[in-house]
């Protein structure tokens, strides 16, 4: 369903652009972001209209079904217009040794996540919140930490949908909250983070076959950094290995690399999708967060390039210097 939704979103956003390639990982991440959006819609219904969690769950299933059907119909319509969408192929074979090392690092990290005891991250109340949602069948009807009625959380906190996401997933798939929050979600975040970094590597090194090896070594170095940067609570490694369920981890590991990729590739709509997704999972400054800052920074650079009067700013500078020589 994630790929299906993602492909629909991707087709919608690509429209008639020159990018005729359907990237599997871009599809997946777009679907992931679309999923966050649908969960957020169901969550906000529960928050603003005082609906039970069961109602939100049914609403989510309905919205997801509608999104998937719409995506399928849209893709069928687009394919009839012969958009010549095709897949890139053959990139993995050229970089087999690097790919094997990467898979080894990935397997080691999944093993680490699944076998180490869950750390108590300061300020993280996800498990308590999910348990209280499950018991009360409501959203913030009782204090997650004490279980007693309370005055309610700030609106900017209540609109964040991740606890509702995990509660609905626990209920839908009959998984214990500790298993979902401590094991399943960190593995999902880890794999999606690598998908985002793989896309970014295509932008930095080129998408041609001969660059596949560099791209996989890039992922290996990213994986090693995840392992080695887990001492600081603010580092991605700590978030990936010990707090993969947190909104800040999803933002730093998935949304930020994807927004950089989208902005550098001038896929502005996808970058805006990241900004919206961040607003749904992390406390932001009225919807503007890190993704917004990154997007604004790269957009300003593009505008500066245009204002200086040229499309490839650095090529022009380089050419001038070469002519001067």
């Amino acid at each position: 369903m994630i790929f299906d939704k993602g492909r629909g979103i991707l087709t919608f956003m690509n429209g008639t652009t020159s990018d005729k390639f359907v990237n599997l990982w871009e599809t997946y991440i777009c679907g992931f972001l679309g999923g966050i959006g649908i969960f957020e819609a169901a969550h906000l219904t529960g928050v603003f209209f005082d609906k039970s969690l069961s109602f939100c769950g049914k609403l989510f299933v309905g919205l997801l079904a509608a999104a998937c059907v719409s995506a399928v119909v849209y893709m069928i319509v687009k394919s009839r217009k012969k958009s010549n969408v095709r897949r890139r192929s053959g990139s993995i074979r050229a970089a087999l040794p690097a790919a094997i090392v990467f898979l080894g690092v990935l397997a080691a990290q999944i093993f680490y996540i699944c076998t180490t005891s869950m750390m108590q991250i300061p300020g993280d109340i996800t498990l308590e919140t999910v348990n209280s949602f499950l018991v009360t069948d409501g959203i913030y009807t009782v204090s997650p930490l004490t279980g007693k009625p309370f005055g309610g959380a700030p609106l900017r906190y209540e609109i964040l949908c991740l606890p509702t996401v995990y509660t609905l997933l626990c209920r839908g798939f009959s998984i214990a909250p500790e298993m979902l929050v401590g094991r399943v979600m960190p593995v999902v975040t880890l794999c999606t983070a690598y998908a985002a970094y793989y896309l970014l590597s295509g932008t930095l090194f080129g998408k041609e076959k001969e660059n596949s090896e560099k791209r996989f070594w890039f992922l290996v170095i990213i994986g090693v950094l995840f392992f080695l940067c887990e001492k600081s609570v603010y580092a991605e490694g700590y978030g990936i290995l010990h707090g993969g369920h947190l909104g800040t981890t999803i933002r730093n590991s998935i949304l930020v690399p994807f927004v950089i990729y989208s902005a550098l590739e001038k896929k502005w709509l996808k970058a805006i999708l990241c900004i919206l997704a961040e607003a749904c999972i992390v406390w932001t400054f009225w919807g503007l967060g890190v993704c917004g800052a990154v997007f604004a920074g790269i957009l300003l650079l593009n505008i500066a390039g245009i204002l200086i009067g040229h499309k490839g700013l650095f090529s022009k500078i380089r050419k001038k210097e070469e002519d001067g020589l």
């Binding site: 018991v135 700030p154 906190y157 080129g206 950094l225 080695l228 001492k231 603010y234 800052a293």
Partner: protein, 307 residues
């Protein structure tokens, strides 16, 4: 003005704490310096935009005055360290390592490269190994963070207590009071059980989701419970070297009475002080018309109050 000064101090202190743990920042800055000297080589404008953005973000975050802006932008909900999310340090370091190995290594080791040209993959692999070793030295050097043995042991005891309570039945409207390790585990694993106070009593960051504060009596009750549950104080009790503070706490039944009056059903206390607690809890429960039952679970006694 005062607020800006406070933010500046927070930025400076926060950076000192951040750099103590995150030692890869100098490596990222080194990669950006390398890129600054070699940028003409990169025909791809996207890489240039990526590097310029990264360099600008690092500079703006290093300078305290501009870092304050980002601190305010991300809101005070988050600590200083999270502002560094705006600089893609991981991607910069990884890009730098791969670029140096694939583009600089052949040039720098030209003679070696000519000799072992047929084994260029091996040389690149060697370059990657050196890069990983460098990251290892700058990173956590293989010393992963882990949950302490003592905390794991306390979790196992809390699980036993929780299982006993669940088997005992009557989880609805049930309130528990005990040492923070016990209460934290119980609430995390059973949403039906309420607590006398939450984790925000000792973890201020956990209280960011609501505006309520604890009363002075609740805070005193927490301090009393933690004083009596402290392993150091229990040791002094066993070797009969109690301090005045512990004697006073053992003699005090105010907090027990307040807990029972506020509707607490389960009280968890260390077994070492059962003799002192028994008389006081019986008196307090009797005054409230409640019956008391006790069961030992590992090194704690679970006191159950019922009508």
């Amino acid at each position: 003005m005062r607020r800006i000064w406070d933010c500046l101090l927070l930025t400076v202190n926060g950076f000192a704490e951040f750099i103590t743990e995150y030692k890869l920042l100098p490596l990222a800055i080194g990669v950006l310096f390398y890129a600054a000297f070699r940028w003409k080589k990169y025909k791809n404008d996207k890489i240039n935009y990526f590097l310029i953005y990264s360099a600008a973000a690092v500079v703006l975050l290093l300078v305290p005055v501009t870092a304050v802006f980002f601190l305010v932008y991300q809101t005070r909900f988050y600590d200083y360290g999270w502002v560094w999310s705006m600089a893609p340090l991981t991607a910069v370091i990884a890009w730098g390592m791969v670029t140096i190995v694939f583009e600089e290594l052949p040039g720098a080791a030209a003679e070696l490269w000519k000799k072992y040209r047929s084994k260029e993959n091996l040389l690149r692999f060697f370059g990657i190994v050196v890069a990983v070793l460098l990251l290892f030295v700058c990173g956590n050097q293989g010393q992963f963070q882990k949950v302490s043995e003592e905390e794991l042991r306390q979790r196992q005891i809390a699980e036993s207590i929780l299982q006993y309570m669940e088997n005992d039945g009557g989880m609805e409207d049930c309130i528990v009071w005990g040492p923070k390790a016990m209460m934290q585990y119980i609430r995390s694993h059973n949403g039906k059980i309420a607590l006398a106070y939450g984790r925000d009593m000792w973890d201020a960051k956990a209280g960011a989701y609501d505006y309520e504060v604890y009363s002075a009596e609740e805070i005193e009750g927490y301090e009393w419970m933690e004083l009596l549950s402290s392993s150091h104080n229990l040791y002094l009790l066993e070797v009969e070297q109690t301090t005045g503070q512990i004697d006073k706490a053992l003699a005090d039944e105010t907090h027990l009475r307040r807990a029972i009056d506020s509707g607490v059903h389960y009280i968890i206390l260390p077994s070492q002080i059962t003799a002192w607690v028994e008389r006081k809890i019986n008196a307090a429960a009797g005054a409230a018309g409640l019956k008391v039952a006790a069961v030992e679970v590992a090194e704690y006694t679970l006191w159950m109050l019922e009508k």
